[in-house]
C-alpha cells in the first residue's frame, strides 16, 4: 500500500490524491469521522449558546477545562471496557463498583486510617488509592471467575453485580454520606489546587511532544531493521506535527483558564504575596490531576493492548474464542484478568469521582456503566467482539461528555439530556454497523 504512495509516477486512476495521502499516513478513517463529529458538536453548542445568550460559552477555556475533568473518570473506565467488549463480554456493574469502592475508601479515610496512622497523615491517600484499586480488581476478578469457570453469561453476572454492589455500598455506611475526605486525596478530583499549574503543564506538553517524536522514530527504526516498507517521510512529519499541535493546543487552553479570583487571592494571602490595588492575580490552572490520571491510564492500557501477550490474547479470543483455546491460550485466565483490570480501573474512577465531590455517597457512579459502554461503542469498539481501540474509546468518552455538558450549558433539562444521549448511542451503533457492512463489501 505505502509503496504505491511512495512512487512519484502516475498514480492509480481510481484513487483520488487525498485518499492516497490519507492512506500513506495510516490514519484510521473512522477516527477522522469521530474527530469531525466532535468538532461539529463543539461548534454547534458554541453557536447555539451564542444565539441563545448572545455569548458563545462552549469553546471557552473555562468550559473546555471543565470538560476535561468531567471526562476523565469515564475515559479511565472506557479504556478497560474496550477490552471487555472486545472479548465479547459486557460489564454492567462498574457504576456500582464505584459506589462500593468509593464508600469503603471513604470510610477508610475518615474512620479507620486516622485512628491507625493519625489524622491528616500524608500516607492516608496512598493507602486509600491502593486499597481502591485492589478492591476494585478483586470484585472485577470475582465477576470474571464466575463468567470463566462457571460459565454464567457476563451480562447476568454483572447485572447481578450492579444490584449487589450498590446494596453493599449502602451497607458500608448505612446510606450516610461520607465527607469531607482526606485533603490530599481530594486533589485527585481536580479543582484549582488539584491541578499542576501553567509551568508544569508546559513541561508536560514538552515531554509529550518528545514522546511523540520518539514513538514515530522508534517505530520507523523497527520497520527499517526488518526491511519493511516505510511510511513516506512527509507522512511521518505530518503525524508528528499533528500530534504536537493537539498537545500544545490543549495545553494552551487549560493554561488559559485562570484560578477563580477568590482562590487566587487566598493563595496569595497564604504565601504573603501582596497584590497591588486594582489588579488581580492570574494563575493558569493547567492540567487537572484526574486528566493526567486518565492520560496515564490510556497510555498504559494502549501498551497492554498492543504490546503484551495478554492484550494479543484478548483480541484473538474476541476474534475467535475457540481458535484461541485450540492455539493453547488459557482463555479462562484471560477472562478473569480482563474483568480484574476493568475492576481496577473502576477503583481508579471511584477515587476520581469521590475526590471530585470530596465525599462518598451511595449514588456515586450511578449510570456510569452506560456512559462508559457508550464511549467505547462510539469510539469504534464492535459489540460482536475482536475490534476496538483504546484511543477511540477515550475520544468516544469526550464525545459523550461533550454532549452531556453542552446540553447542560444550553439549559436542557435532565429528561431531554437522557433522551439525547440514548438516541445518540443507538444512532452511533447504527452508523457504525452501516459503515462496517459497506467496508466489508468493498
Amino acid at each position: 500500500m505505502s509503496s504505491v504512495a511512495q512512487t512519484p509516477g502516475p498514480r492509480s486512476a481510481e484513487e483520488p490524491l487525498f485518499r492516497q495521502m490519507l492512506r500513506a499516513t495510516e490514519i484510521d478513517t473512522r477516527m477522522i469521522g469521530m474527530v469531525a463529529a466532535l468538532a461539529l458538536i463543539w461548534v454547534g453548542f458554541h453557536i447555539y449558546t451564542f444565539v441563545q445568550a448572545g455569548e458563545g460559552v462552549f469553546l471557552t477555556p473555562r468550559n473546555l477545562w471543565n470538560l476535561t475533568v468531567q471526562t476523565s473518570s469515564i475515559a479511565v473506565m472506557a479504556t478497560g471496557m474496550v477490552l471487555v467488549i472486545v472479548m465479547r463480554h459486557i460489564d454492567l456493574s462498574i457504576g456500582s463498583i464505584i459506589a462500593f469502592v468509593g464508600n469503603v475508601v471513604g470510610v477508610m479515610q475518615v474512620a479507620w486510617l486516622p485512628s491507625l496512622l493519625g489524622f491528616d497523615h500524608p500516607l492516608i491517600w496512598v493507602v486509600a488509592v491502593l486499597a481502591a484499586i485492589a478492591l476494585g480488581a478483586a470484585v472485577g476478578a470475582f465477576h470474571g471467575a464466575l463468567v470463566a469457570y462457571i460459565g454464567i453469561p457476563a451480562f447476568i453476572v454483572t447485572l447481578g453485580g450492579q444490584l449487589f454492589w450498590r446494596g453493599a455500598a449502602w451497607w458500608v455506611t448505612t446510606g450516610a454520606t461520607i465527607a469531607p475526605l482526606d485533603g490530599r486525596f481530594a486533589l485527585i478530583g481536580g479543582g484549582a489546587h488539584g491541578s499542576i499549574g501553567a509551568t508544569a503543564s508546559w513541561a508536560f506538553a514538552g515531554l509529550a511532544c518528545l514522546g511523540i517524536v520518539f514513538g514515530v522514530y522508534s517505530g520507523r527504526q523497527r520497520r527499517a531493521r526488518y526491511h519493511f516498507p516505510l511510511r513516506p517521510m512527509w507522512a511521518e512529519i505530518t503525524m508528528v506535527a499533528l500530534g504536537a499541535l493537539v498537545v500544545l493546543g490543549a495545553t494552551a487552553v487549560v493554561n488559559a483558564y485562570p484560578w477563580p479570583e477568590r482562590v487566587a487571592a487566598q493563595w496569595a494571602e497564604a504565601h504573603n504575596i501582596v497584590i497591588p490595588e486594582g489588579q488581580t492575580l492570574v494563575i493558569g490552572t493547567g492540567y487537572a490531576i484526574p486528566v493526567l490520571i486518565a492520560i496515564a491510564c490510556g497510555l498504559l492500557m494502549t501498551f497492554v493492548a498492543k504490546r503484551t501477550k495478554f492484550g494479543r490474547y484478548v483480541y484473538a479470543i474476541g476474534g475467535n474464542p475457540e481458535a484461541a483455546e485450540l492455539a493453547g491460550v488459557n482463555t479462562r485466565k484471560i477472562t478473569v484478568a480482563v474483568f480484574g483490570v476493568m475492576g481496577a480501573l473502576s477503583g481508579v474512577a471511584a477515587c476520581i469521582d469521590s475526590a471530585r465531590l470530596d465525599s462518598a455517597t451511595n449514588a456515586l457512579g450511578t449510570l456510569d456503566e452506560l456512559y462508559v459502554i457508550a464511549a467505547a461503542v462510539i469510539g469504534g469498539t464492535s459489540l460482536s467482539g475482536g475490534v476496538g481501540t483504546i484511543y477511540g474509546a477515550m475520544i468516544g468518552a469526550i464525545v459523550i461528555q461533550s454532549l452531556q455538558s453542552g446540553m447542560v450549558l444550553c439549559g436542557f433539562d435532565a429528561a431531554a439530556q437522557q433522551m439525547v444521549v440514548g438516541a445518540v448511542l443507538v444512532a452511533a451503533v447504527g452508523i457504525d454497523t452501516f459503515y462496517r457492512r459497506r467496508t466489508a463489501k468493498g
Binding site: M1, R222, R223, R225, Y226, F228, F303, K306, R307, T308, K309, G311, R312, Y315, A316, I317, G318, G319, N320, E322, A323, A324, E325, L326, A327, G328, V329, N330, G386, V387
Partner: protein, 261 residues
C-alpha cells in the same frame, strides 16, 4: 512398508468419549509410526474429528490411554498436546480472524523482546520467511486473516502447524477449502514432512485424497473402529465398503465396529 514391529510414535488405546447419552467415540484406537501417514476415514459423524480432538487436547476423553513413543502421557488441553509436539490443522482452520497472519502464526507462542513485550517486527519477519516458502504468492501480512482467500487462510493454518518442529501432525480435512493446484501443493508438503520423519494423521471423508497419500488407513463408523489396514492390501472399493457398510475386507484387521456376518 517394513514388516518388523516398530514402536508407534503415537498410540491411542480404548478411547471413549460421550456427549450426554451419545457415544461419539466408543473404545476406539489409533496409531501412527514415524514417517508414516495414517488416513482416518469415515462418514460425517463417524467420530473421526472427535477421536482426533482427544489427541489434540480439545476434548477430554472419558476413558482410554495415550502413549507417545511408548510412554503414557496426559493430554488434558491443547497446551499439553503442543508440549508433546502434536500440532493440528483443524477443519475450521481455527484462526483468529481479526488479527494478521503473523499474530495467528505465533498465537500462544509469541516472540518477545528482552523487555517482555511482543516483538511484532520479529514475528512478521519470521512469518514472511515461512510463508515465502509455503506460499510464495502470499503478500498480505498486515491484513486481518478474515480478508484472505480460502487458500491463503489454509496456508496460514498449515504454517502454524509445521513451524514449531511438530513430531505429530494432525490434518483434519486439509484440502476442503482448496483448489486443485493448492491441493497438489498440500500433497507435496505431506510427502516432504513424511520424509522428515513426522507421523501424520490425515482425516478426510474423501477416499481419493487419502489413498494417494496414506500408508495405512483406519476406518470408523458410528464411533467405532471398523478396521485398520495398509492401502497396498486393499482396493478403493473395499475401503468404501468399510466406510459405508462397516464390512472389513481380508486385507485389514477388523475392529469392534466391523460387521459380523
Amino acid at each position: 512398508m517394513d514388516a518388523q514391529p516398530r514402536v508407534p510414535l503415537v498410540e491411542m488405546k480404548d478411547i471413549s468419549l460421550a456427549f450426554g447419552g451419545l457415544k461419539a467415540v466408543d473404545r476406539a484406537y489409533l496409531e501412527v509410526c514415524p514417517g508414516e501417514v495414517m488416513g482416518l476415514l469415515g462418514h460425517n459423524g463417524a467420530g473421526k474429528s472427535c477421536l482426533i480432538k482427544v489427541l489434540s487436547g480439545a476434548y477430554k476423553r472419558d476413558t482410554g490411554k495415550i502413549f507417545i513413543e511408548g510412554e503414557e502421557v496426559h493430554i488434558d488441553n491443547p497446551r499439553d498436546a503442543k508440549r508433546y509436539g502434536i500440532e493440528t490443522i483443524y477443519q475450521t482452520l481455527a484462526l483468529a480472524d481479526n488479527v494478521d497472519a503473523a499474530s495467528n502464526l505465533y498465537l500462544g507462542r509469541e516472540l518477545l523482546t528482552r523487555w517482555g513485550t511482543l516483538d511484532d517486527a520479529a514475528m512478521e519477519s519470521e512469518a514472511r520467511r515461512v510463508m515465502g516458502r509455503l506460499n510464495p504468492n502470499f503478500r498480505r501480512f498486515k491484513d486481518p486473516v478474515s480478508s484472505l482467500s480460502g487458500g491463503q487462510r489454509q496456508s496460514v493454518a498449515i504454517a502454524r502447524a509445521i513451524h514449531f518442529n511438530a513430531k505429530i501432525l494432525i490434518m483434519d480435512e486439509p484440502t476442503a477449502a482448496l483448489g486443485p493446484a493448492e491441493t497438489a501443493q498440500v500433497g507435496e508438503l505431506v510427502k516432504q514432512l513424511k520424509a522428515d520423519g513426522l507421523g501424520i494423521f490425515l482425516i478426510s471423508h474423501d477416499i481419493h485424497d487419502v489413498f494417494d497419500l496414506a500408508d495405512r488407513v483406519t476406518v470408523m463408523k458410528n464411533g467405532q473402529i471398523v478396521g485398520v489396514g495398509s492401502v497396498d492390501d486393499m482396493t478403493k472399493d473395499e475401503v468404501l465398503g468399510m466406510i459405508i457398510l462397516g464390512k472389513c475386507p481380508p486385507g485389514a484387521t477388523p475392529g469392534p465396529g466391523a460387521m459380523v456376518d
